[in-house]
Amino acid sequence: MEALEQPAAAAPQGEVGRSRERVEDDALLRGAGRYGDDLAVPPGTLHAAVLRSPHAHADIRSVDVTRALAVSGVHTVLTGEDVRNWAAPFPVGVREPMEHWCLAVDRVRYVGEPVAVVVAEDRYAAEDALGLVDVDYGLLSPAVDAEAAAAPEAAVLHEGVGSNVVSERHFHYGEPEDAFAAADHHVSLKVRYPRNSCTPIECYVVLASYDVAAGAYDVSANFQGPFALHSVMARALQVPAPRLRLRTPADSGGSFGIKQGVFPYVVLMALAARKAGAPVKWVEDRLEHLQAASSATNRVSTIEAAVTAEGRVTALRYDQLDDCGAYLRAPEPATFYRMHGTLTGAYDIRHLAVRNRVVLTNKTPTGLNRGFGGPQVYYALERLMQHIAATLGLDPLTVIRRNLVPPEAFPYRAPAGSLLDSGDYPAAVELAERDGGLAELRERRDAARREGRYYGIGFCAAVEPSISNMGYITTVMTPEERRKAGPKNGAVSTATVSVDPLGAVSVHVSSTPQGQGHRTVAAQVVADVLGVPFESVTVNVELDTQKDAWSIASGNYSSRFSGAVAGAVHKAATRVRDRLAGIAAGPLGVAPETVRFAGGRVHAGADDGSASMSFHRVAGAVHWAPGTLPEGEPGGLRETAFWTPPELAAPDEGDHINSSLCYGFVFDYCGVEIDPVTGAVRIDRYVTLHDPGRILNPQLVDGQVRGGFAQGLGAALMEEFAYGDDGSFLAGTLADYLIPTSMEVPEPVILHMETPSPFTPLGAKGVGEGNNMSTPVCIANAVADALGRADIELPLTPARVRGVIGIDEPEPPAGLEPAAAPRGGGSGLRASDSVTMPAPPETVFHRMLEPATLAAIIPGCHELEATGENAYRADVTVGVGMIRARYEARITLSELDPPHSLRLSGVGESAMGSAEGSARVRLTALDDGGTRLDYDYEAAVGGKVAAVGARMLQGAARVIIGQIFTRLAAELGGGQPSWWRRLADRLRGLVGRGGGRS
């Protein structure tokens, strides 16, 4: 992808607005960061490993920890029974009878759900014992697909609720029916947004201890907020909030929303520490993280627009189904309501009807994920805008332009309640069109198309909300329910600025950054206010709920730093400044209002030549000489500011909700070319324009844009948490869950505009999430344009794109038709084969019923013991290549029809997960006195093996099951593949080098 010259901005006067190199970087570049796993631990700290469910849906009949406790180094095992004794289920956002505990107490509802915690002297020993916790599961049918799970006949996860649909709300704004009745066109689209995650490179870390005397828990965790969840954790631990001391480390290895989901593990490890009587540390590993940490909500949307002949949209109708996984974990169903006020996007559409349904399925619970709620909404809305253009034969940009909120309308109240604070959308679009070179891209597209190549251009206009209203989630309740519960609203941010006896300035913010450079920007803001050098300001971002100022909105989410937290910093610093001005006014002989702070000095007036005192001298007086201070000045210098915007009201009786304080504007377009053979999507150019209000540090803003773009690109092209039909998780490693690398991420053309927000102290808005919202759909629109098709689906993998282009296969040659048996989805494995036995069917049949034969033919079978007629239990070690798994298996022979057919079945559990298989065996006498044994098998593999080995399961199953029957033939004294098989091989011509598939 080629780069464009980007216009340089004028250099700002003060610190704010400058691309300061970050104060964070020196330590991080030297390896001196202090992340969760780097913190010192108390002497005697033990280490935890979590036993997780291999099943998507099962009752827990019993948990036996006897064997696990016998492992050297193991101290204790926390089970559901302990959790029931000491804790309570987490509070849930909707009023339905369902319980979510930090550990499964009676039923598991997703693969990876915690079932027990082993605590040992080190992590190695803890893992040694995981496989020795004996759990007896009673399998239940899973509900996996969102739409199927919402149907009445689906297996129900929470029986008390009686349905998997745990929330359904209808909303109505304006007169959508009238608008649809009057419209020239109705255009609709059904889209699916997949499960994915912004997956930080650092996983969860928790270090917990329990003070038995005080009945208090002390926990360090790389939690990111919102600290409203502190209340959720304290309630689950059944302690008053001060008895859950929660601290966050100075550095965090990325979060992107995901580390909100560590909160159940804070509770879990607190309980493990209590059980162990010692501090307990847990470092989540990557396999745990991918399968069970958190996920974006997958959504099925049907969206319909009422459109005039000119392409003006007069009304929208959304029917949305959110799949929140196995439990409605706080703050869900926030994925819906974070965007609720903004469902009309950047458009002036006055009429809106919405149906929101939340369905639970046997998948990992969902939670915050950068862009939260935005990718889902814009994937529907902006795909629809593109589809409207395609349907009406209009240019997509024309349709966008005809519907944008006009600049004179700001602040603009959207029909569902968002108060769009500022912007000039048409000007932004024009700027992007000009400076991003849209005309040139169009020429390229036309040229490519003349040559028959697939080239498309996609657009996306998006409003990027920031600074969430803590009350938006209550929109899920009816007005009546809200009246009973009491109002929730606002977004309190916090900052403390203090000056020490030597005049050095310290700042503390409760914003728990994960790489965004909050320390740098806070120092820039304070340096400007106090007129001190940037380098002299020290910023601390660790948070300790027992000592620091915080509130429920504290934390790092909804891009709230630049608008809200930096504003609170400004407010606190201003208070310090005003006090110092009062102190300096006397000695300088001027009124406090004329005192000016610059260059490390306190000046009497505007002119640098005016009388002045050094900053540290003035500040020092509050510590060293409080007796000299003016009356009313209390001495000491530490100011904590809280700030909450009045615009963030609770939802009203009409369900209007201003879900966020600020609304930036993002306008993206891109040109893509698709390889007609491989289906690979190449980004030719990606242009992204942002209006994030006032820009505090341009380099950091661009960093946010690039990072969000890379994640959006991943969501568009490759990332997906795939599940099998049986609920098995299939993206268990970073070789299965595909994150873009430097080879896949092109450099976007970044353009800026600055329309300050009237609602934040510095005029800044959030900027961290826009591309997570805009990029997936922008690329999807370009692909839709290139292919002239509406039926595209994320992620746009090469195979999927090529499938849309069309695969017109020549017929298979005779004898090579693929097996007729359809394969099961996910980890479902099926195949057929045949082996010749050197004995008549009667002998073969008879021998298969003998335990000695079974023990000999089942690979790696030890200790086969009869448990009933034709029923056995055995230890079976199976494997391919270097991989081995030891299963405790139950083997049965059934459907006996001697000497014609029988069924051989096995079910096994191992530390690596569950496996089951069943083979139908048919025996046919051959002329030579032998037998042809045909078998068809179906197998399913769950747990870790399915999660990490999905790519090879089919082949591995073939190897292992094939072994059973070739061993049987060997036992009977032969072992040649059947004559027809050999013939088929010859026909296939696979006897040459490289061999075939016999």
């Binding site: 893992e127 491989t678 020549p810 040659p813 270097m882 080098r993 490289g994």
Partner: protein, 272 residues
């Protein structure tokens, strides 16, 4: 994700390594580059009693030409082979394929023989070995070393002709033949990922040996006409591979790539 306990041995000679392996009754694993084995151990997908580290065996650390083949010892890293002077002329197919093998960092430690031993059906080096008609040298406690043609060495997913007590001591890549062009290409989800389809071709005149990885349960090679009849032959080959769906690609897509990319690869290499 920590390995289960195992005994560790670092033999100094080939003989010692073979003795250990043969004495372990299938309960040992050979640690060479460790780029597959260590991940398997960390995930506890295997819990061997003994890990035999062969990285310190100098006599297995070599790249040499012998009897028309480039012979690579079991302790030789992929990066060392990539940097071997003249590789692009002596075994051009391997030179073309190596950049597709994992990443810079994993090639630094991963060994050539280790990749062959692991027999991942999508791996590039087994595909090259099969396409070129190379050989694998296996040594057990008794008897002479077995020299097994790649064609019979690869037997299925992660499954080979190696007996549990045998050590792969060497692989042999036949040197480039006159009048033959070698081509390698691959489609993967990301750079460095396991191939959805990998194609290796040795094209000489009117014939081509085409190897396909990532589709069947092992690399599969066929001799096809390079000119007339190529499309029919590719189609038959594509179907014969028995492609299956997985999370990242469908069977039809894999067959299509074999046909269409295979044609591209072969026709672009041939002078018009």
């Amino acid at each position: 994700m920590k390995p289960a306990a195992f005994d560790y041995a670092r033999p100094a000679t080939r003989r010692e390594a073979i003795e250990l392996l043969a004495g372990a009754q299938g309960e040992a694993r050979v640690l060479a580059g460790g780029q597959s084995l260590m991940a398997v151990l960390n995930m506890r997908l295997a819990e061997p009693a003994l890990v035999i580290d062969i990285t310190g065996i100098d006599e297995l650390h070599y790249i040499e030409e012998r009897d028309g083949a480039l012979c690579v010892g079991a302790a030789t890293r992929q990066a060392e082979l990539a940097a071997h002077p003249g590789l692009a002329e002596r075994v051009p197919l391997v030179a073309q394929a190596l950049p597709w093998v994992g990443h810079f960092q994993t090639r630094n430690r991963g060994t050539v023989c280790g990749s062959v031993a692991h027999a991942d059906p999508s791996a590039e080096l087994p595909l090259c070995l099969a396409t070129l008609g190379g050989e694998v040298v296996l040594e057990g406690r008794r008897g002479r070393p077995r020299v097994v043609p790649a064609a019979s060495f690869f037997q299925g997913v992660l499954t080979t002709d190696r007996a549990p007590g045998e050590l792969i001591t060497e692989v042999r890549f036949p040197l480039a033949q006159a009048q033959t062009q070698y081509r390698f290409t691959e489609v993967a989800m990301r750079h460095g990922d396991f191939a959805i389809v990998a194609l290796a071709a040795a094209i000489r005149g009117e014939q081509v040996d085409l190897g396909v990885g990532g589709v069947a349960d092992r690399p599969v090679v066929r001799t096809l006409p390079a000119g007339d009849g190529l499309d029919e032959a590719l189609n038959e080959f594509a179907w014969a591979l028995g492609a299956e769906d997985d999370a990242h690609a469908t069977a039809a897509y894999r067959r299509t790539l074999v046909r269409e990319l295979g044609r591209q690869l072969i026709t672009e290499a041939r002078p018009c």
